[in-house]
């Protein structure tokens, strides 16, 4: 199987481990990822806040480049990128005049022939054939699957999963031995784009999510979005200061959870890059004292 690959800016920066774990997984299941040559930023929140045309033109350049290289399906693992690409594609396909205007602006020919996939859609395709689901060490943990906002909304554009109570991530991770919990914060926003400018609001929203997952006994929050990860993991100290209490629950990417179940190494999956140590309560023995600096666990194979 082969997908065009749009890593986006986050995956080469603060969300490096999402890229690393996805690529580790890809090589384990014989999935080819062909990076779109000379891709640019999708424009993210900034573009659609400040300029309607840029919010269409920047994704259109990416999609037109993919088309030029004969890529029909593009995997955009970052939810924000995915959202910008799929929304721009949707608007441009619905409005011929707008499409002409944007094509003129980017001096390229976007036709809409390339489809955009989010990471869950892509993983479902990969693991549709049960023989590819090679579980070496079941990910036997209670997890809170956190889709966030952009993976499932707007429902008409995304056309994937249920917008209020999504199930795709739960279904996927169940195949690898995890037990997803029921909880109300699956699609509540973490604060995303306000992380620098209004950290106070981000703390307020993210704290509710962490509190809710921990209270319901989850051992990890599983995410598929670098913005969600950044707010729930990198902002943890700010969130704890805001809440006046400590939270130990780790936040991991779905690709890391699957990678662990498939027996891939922790370093290969980038688990060492998180600020909140990725440690799980021991099942049989007494829980070990959580080490502050480095996760002491080794991949047992």
């Amino acid at each position: 199987m082969k997908f065009g690959y749009y890593p986006g800016c986050s995956l080469s920066g603060t969300a490096r481990e999402f890229d690393e774990s996805l690529k580790a997984l890809a090589s384990a299941v014989d999935l080819q990822l062909e990076e779109i040559p000379d891709w640019n930023c999708c424009g993210s929140t900034a573009a659609h806040n400040l300029s309607h045309l840029l919010s269409l033109a920047l994704p259109a350049r990416v999609l037109a480049l993919a088309e030029q290289h004969g890529l029909n399906e593009i995997l955009a693992p970052c939810s924000a990128c995915y959202s910008r690409l799929i929304n721009a594609r949707h608007q441009l396909m619905a409005d011929e005049e707008l499409r002409k205007e944007v094509n003129d602006l980017i001096e390229m020919n976007f036709t809409g022939s390339a489809k955009v996939l989010n990471v869950l859609e892509a993983l479902f395709k990969v693991f549709a054939d049960e023989s590819t689901v090679k579980v070496v060490k079941p990910f036997d943990h209670k997890v809170a699957c956190y889709s966030g906002c952009l993976l499932v909304r707007p429902a008409k554009v995304v056309n994937f999963d249920r917008p209020e109570d999504p199930q795709a991530m739960d279904d996927l991770i169940r195949k690898f031995g995890a037990t997803p919990i029921d909880w109300p914060h699956k699609v509540e926003c973490c604060g995303a784009g306000l992380t620098m400018a209004r950290t106070d609001l981000v703390c307020k929203l993210s704290q509710k999510i962490i509190e809710s997952a921990e209270k319901r006994g989850a051992e990890a929050i599983v995410v598929a979005c670098p913005m969600c990860h950044a707010n729930l993991d990198m902002r943890r100290a700010d969130i704890e200061a805001f809440a006046g209490k400590k939270y130990s629950i780790p936040v991991i990417y779905i690709t890391q959870a699957i990678g662990l179940a498939m027996g891939l190494g922790e370093k290969q999956l980038g688990l060492n890059r998180h600020l909140v140590p990725v440690v799980f309560p021991e099942k049989t023995k007494a829980a070990p004292a959580a080490p502050e600096a480095q996760p002491a666990q080794k991949a047992e194979e």
Partner: protein
């Protein structure tokens, strides 16, 4: 993206019409059930909840149009799409919010407390304009230069991220930077109306 203050007050169209022309969204559809305000994660931090903001625009009166454009609400909106997912009349409020932000800037009416938020977006776009991709350390420096008061923010987190390999000291750029610059230039020209 600079302010354009050439509008003559009398000739200005009602905001509701401008919204419809630009986004295809009709605010007239809203019947004030307030599900958007109930579900909005930041409604309680806004100066005007989303349903009331729509009502103000529905009225079609210049003073309310101006209030809507001066609100903090339009800048706090996260575009999380909870409102539009739940709206029984399928009003796509995030699209309306996008338009209101841009119109607010065009008329120079942006809320004073939105300064940080706007400068964050500008710093972000600056990075893309010059490199084609986001360079996080550069963007943060740009943002802090625009907001000296935030200079000390995250100074303790940054070194940790650096050690974890999450912040690269070197920018990644697209090869065809001129192409990106041209797209920005031409988009700005078109949007200056």
């Amino acid at each position: 993206m600079e302010k354009c203050e050439k509008h003559s007050h009398s000739a200005r169209e009602a905001l509701a019409e401008l919204i419809e022309q630009s986004t295809g969204q009709s605010v007239a559809k809203c019947y004030q059930c307030a599900k958007c305000s109930a579900g909005c994660p930041l409604a309680e931090d806004m100066d005007i909840p989303p349903s009331r903001l729509l009502h103000m625009v529905q009225l079609g009166l210049p003073e309310f149009d101006e209030k809507a454009l001066k609100s903090l609400t339009i800048w706090l909106c996260l575009a999380c799409e909870t409102c539009s997912a739940r709206c029984p009349k399928e009003v796509e409020i995030p699209k309306i919010m996008d338009f209101l932000r841009q119109e607010s800037l065009r008329r120079g009416l942006a809320h004073a407390q939105a300064k940080n938020i706007i400068s964050f977006h500008r710093a972000f776009l600056d990075s893309i304009q010059y490199l084609g991709r986001l360079f996080e350390p550069g963007m943060i420096a740009d943002y802090k230069a625009r907001n000296p008061r935030s200079a000390m923010q995250d100074v303790l987190t940054a070194p940790r991220l650096f050690l974890k390999g999450k912040l690269s000291p070197f920018p990644h750029a697209v090869k065809d930077r001129k192409h990106i610059a041209r797209i920005f230039e031409r988009a700005a020209k078109k949007e200056k109306r």
